[in-house]
Symmetry: C2
Subunit: 218 residues, 2 copies
């Protein structure tokens, strides 16, 4: 059975990606990060999702003691609205490259040739490391800088959601049976989603456009 490493944050996109990879016949090894984000709620969600998909997972704890993001530094406020032309303060420097470099290491050690990430450049955060161009550029790095790459069998990073809008992602996930009630998107870690942050707004817009209820509200 072909193996894949799947980056899993506990949000809507990565959860849909996991179920898509499973549907495509991959044995999925999930990689979940505790990187000092504001709350552990999304980590707990990621673990629940991995378990509900009956997939193995590894929880990796990393420390980014230099901050540089309102998601890491509790002295900064997470903005409720954002200017779509700028990169928001919730951007975490280097985050997806850090996650992917661990995924590449995991994949090489486990002889997996595929890495899935739920990056999306349509209804998205505005982070540069969610855009297709970044993943295109990574191909050459993998070819030149990894053992399997120089042996002509580079790991591939797949971004199946990159050009889908949020409602398309939700419709796909509904077909695949993603338990969206277990996912967590809100930047806050309260009992229920705040409904106001950028992440909550994108999620609500997606469910509205997909004409389906968000099961997170029970």
């Amino acid at each position: 059975m072909k193996k894949a490493v799947v980056l899993l944050s506990g949000g809507l996109d990565s959860s849909t990606t996991l179920f898509l990879a499973k549907d495509q016949g991959y044995k999925c090894l999930c990689l979940i990060f505790d990187y000092g984000q504001r709350h552990k709620k999304e980590i707990k969600s990621a673990i629940k999702i991995a378990k509900s998909a009956k997939c193995d997972f590894r929880l990796i704890k990393i420390n980014l003691p230099w901050g540089g993001s309102s998601l890491l530094d509790r002295k900064l406020k997470v903005p409720q609205y954002r200017n779509r032309k700028t990169i928001p303060s919730t951007y975490v420097p280097g985050r997806n490259l850090i996650f992917l470099s661990f995924a590449l290491s995991f994949a090489e050690a486990q002889k997996a040739r595929t890495i899935f990430i739920g990056a999306n450049q349509i209804d998205y955060s505005g982070y540069p490391d969610c855009r297709g161009e970044f993943y295109q550029a990574l191909k050459k790095v993998i070819e030149k800088g990894t053992k399997t790459g120089v042996q002509g069998k580079p790991a591939k990073i797949l971004t199946p959601l990159i050009d889908k809008n949020k409602s398309e992602i939700i419709r796909l996930g509904r077909k695949l049976g993603v338990p969206y009630e277990l996912t967590w998107s809100c930047y806050s870690g309260a009992k229920t989603p705040c409904g106001k942050c950028d992440s909550c707004r994108l999620r609500a817009k997606g469910f509205k456009e997909a004409r389906t209820r968000d099961p997170i509200y029970g």
Copy 2:
């Protein structure tokens, strides 16, 4: 004063790179990794080197629980000789990409525009992530996937030792006053270097060709 993040392993190459960056007028922020390597001796060396250079440092602990390297997995033996045409078992999957992704995060958060790494493709380990092609490929990733990159001010990764042989590196380090007696190259963590592993052999060859004594022997 211009700031630089310097990856510091405690070995000969990264220590020389730190003293070179200082000599070029950078305020250096050292990044040292505890990644589960066989012994802590090189970490202690790195800390001594940073202190002797009067530079700030951060020690980052990471966990690569999937092994895949004789430097991580104590059930595997570190080879004493190696076939120069193959990648040795001491290769750690994804290591330099992991280190550099943390360095990029640190650099963005600290508004440093330069990252130094002592990678070398001449008298080297045979690891693909020590070769110039890998660093060339990373440029585009930084341009496309980081905030400063898309703003037209990408961090630069400098590899000043990439095409130098070991004796050239040692001669340069001697001029710069690198305290080589504090560095550690051996794959084993014994009291004195084993003198037999690939890393010890490369070091010995370098000092011999530079016609100078290795001060690690007192």
